[in-house]
Symmetry: C2
């Protein structure tokens, strides 16, 4: 038996064990091909089936109608920070952003680097990004409004999305895609680095509504145009086959083992409530996000500074890994992505209780 810990990493992050086991089983011979999935041609039936399966499952899981296309890109969410304004800005119109933490700040920077007129429609920078702004007023001529649905570092999450009328929403959903039910209709584009809830590092999901593709300027470099990926079903060039294969297995697990996104959301609620309830029940640990903006994916908390290193070290020794907060904010963070089991959260709470008893 392989040793396995409870993994609270923010990303790359825990994957469902049955997914890893299937990868392990078929590592030397994928579906009778006599080759690893790492070795088959991307133009082969073997890989095309994998790609098709991933697309179909994602469309079904997110209830995307035929106006949406699912694309697989490389370069991480960070490349999308520049591709979004490059592809979706409109001449003479501003692009709008809500600033909710470092990732949205970087997205804003990349739009500015390209000389776009950026409207910061709302910001939670006044209280250290510990909340999601309630009021978002967008300029009516804006090309899009960009939000970060879940803020991995600060542990905040949009619980309902701003109503922007005809202005398409664009969301970085890197850290909460597939975690809860939502209506895709207001979204012109959704992107997600896969390495949290969708798979491994090395592939970025881009879900794009077809009307957005008309905006793509013809003169962009080929590999930076969404239309290149759309026209060639993400196979203009060699795609990151193994990462897409992992996504196909993760989405299979979501459909066939978990039973879909609504069921996943229930489990995620139970997991989050288990940890937040404990955080709220005592004074040694403090949640850092404002209660109505709390994320179910990344639970950020603090304990007395002097105890931090000891806490992380002893937790790691107890088989609870990845609890250190992002280096830009310190403190602790427990990421409770889809593949984190409730038992892991319960084990964490038990450990936290025991730690206070000894050190509090």
């Amino acid at each position: 038996m392989a040793k396995r810990i409870y993994n609270f990493n923010a990303g790359p992050a825990v994957l469902p064990l049955p997914v890893l086991e299937e990868m392990q089983r078929e590592m030397l011979d994928f579906h009778g091909s006599g080759m690893s999935i790492l070795e088959v041609s991307h133009r082969s039936k073997w890989f095309e089936d994998v790609l098709d399966e991933a697309i179909v499952r994602i469309k079904r899981l997110l209830k995307l109608d035929d106006t949406y296309q699912v694309l697989f890109l490389q370069g991480g969410a960070s490349l999308q920070f520049c591709m979004v304004p490059m592809n979706l800005a409109l001449p003479g119109k501003p692009v709008s952003y809500v600033e909710t933490d470092m990732w949205s700040t970087k997205a804003i920077q990349e739009a500015r680097i390209q000389g776009k007129e950026v409207e910061v429609a709302a910001s939670s920078g006044d209280r250290e990004f510990t909340y999601i702004p309630g009021q978002v007023k967008v300029r009516p001529d804006s090309a899009y409004l960009h939000i970060t649905s879940n803020n991995t570092i600060r542990g905040t999450q949009w619980h309902s999305f701003p109503d922007t009328g005809n202005i398409p929403l664009v969301s970085d959903m890197s850290s909460d895609i597939f975690s809860r039910v939502f209506d895709p209709k207001p979204f012109g584009l959704i992107y997600a680095g896969a390495q949290k809830n969708a798979g491994p590092a090395g592939v970025t999901l881009v879900i794009v509504r077809e009307d957005m593709l008309k905006r793509v300027p013809k003169e962009l470099p080929t590999m930076l145009k969404y239309t290149t990926f759309s026209e060639k079903k993400s196979m203009f060039n060699t795609p990151p086959c193994f990462a897409i294969y992992t996504v196909s297995l993760v989405t299979k697990w979501l459909e066939e083992t978990v039973g879909g996104i609504a069921r996943m959301e229930e489990q995620n609620r139970r997991k989050g409530e288990t940890l937040y309830r404990y955080l709220d029940s005592q004074d040694y640990y403090r949640g850092t996000a404002e209660p109505d903006s709390r994320s179910l994916m990344n639970v950020t908390f603090r304990l007395p500074d002097a105890a931090l290193d000891k806490f992380v070290k002893e937790a790691t020794a107890a088989g609870l890994g990845g609890l250190k907060g992002h280096r830009s904010v310190g403190g602790c963070r427990a990421s409770l992505y889809n593949a984190t089991p409730l038992e892991g959260v319960e084990a964490l709470v038990d450990f936290m209780k025991e730690f206070v008893r000894k050190n509090g």
Copy 2:
């Protein structure tokens, strides 16, 4: 025992069996971490060791001195087609290219899309890209000369590189990196989609000489600047961890099992000679590349058109996969990358003989 075929795919391509076996063994628990390498943080010691090992091995294998940096990017060689001119062009100077087949043609196109002044310094388009141009005259003010060291589709390879004096060479080495000894000094930048000789699809190796980094324009999008990757050791954002891990294992195999690039080159010569000798010994099959330009990595040949489908089908049934030529040229192609064993080539020749005997 897993079923394994001889895999002649052009990329993604065969990987060394010991590499796949190590991946399989440690899929659920990487080096005692209790996590898969797919699940560890890219900021963890586990992954940083993998990254460092890959860099050190690549530098040692290619005998790169400290003026060279090894970077890991995403987006395939195709993204480099646009990043090279974006980063390395110089104001008021042309960029020069040798046109040797489809990949170089695409590289040229991407420079033109950006409005760069492109000099096609030589081309083998006059004889369907079946040879490497002997004479290359480059404009003395050129910012760089771009070549494709091995032309995957046509099966041609540069056997000595053009002497360009002070003008830096830039090479797409996607399909022959690590296959033979060469002097890196004339090269300002080398790039390679890993999915042929270096690892899986999903990571691009970029080897850059430090003086080239001074050319990078400040105002480029962050993710499109080589300096971003250079300054953060390829970790400005989440790198494609699993693909880099595979590269670290492939380069370990090259050093520790094969015994370095010179030994690899000997084996590659033996493999190539085995197949070319047979091609030259009979009339049923014809090699398509001109003899002095033949590639040791991709051996392209034709047989009577009417027999092509039968040949590929029966070869596949006999456990010889991936022999169909690129869809743009037809015919057959046997890719003999580093991980292809000599026995695979011998089995192919035996099969070819038997096929002529029955059908010739």
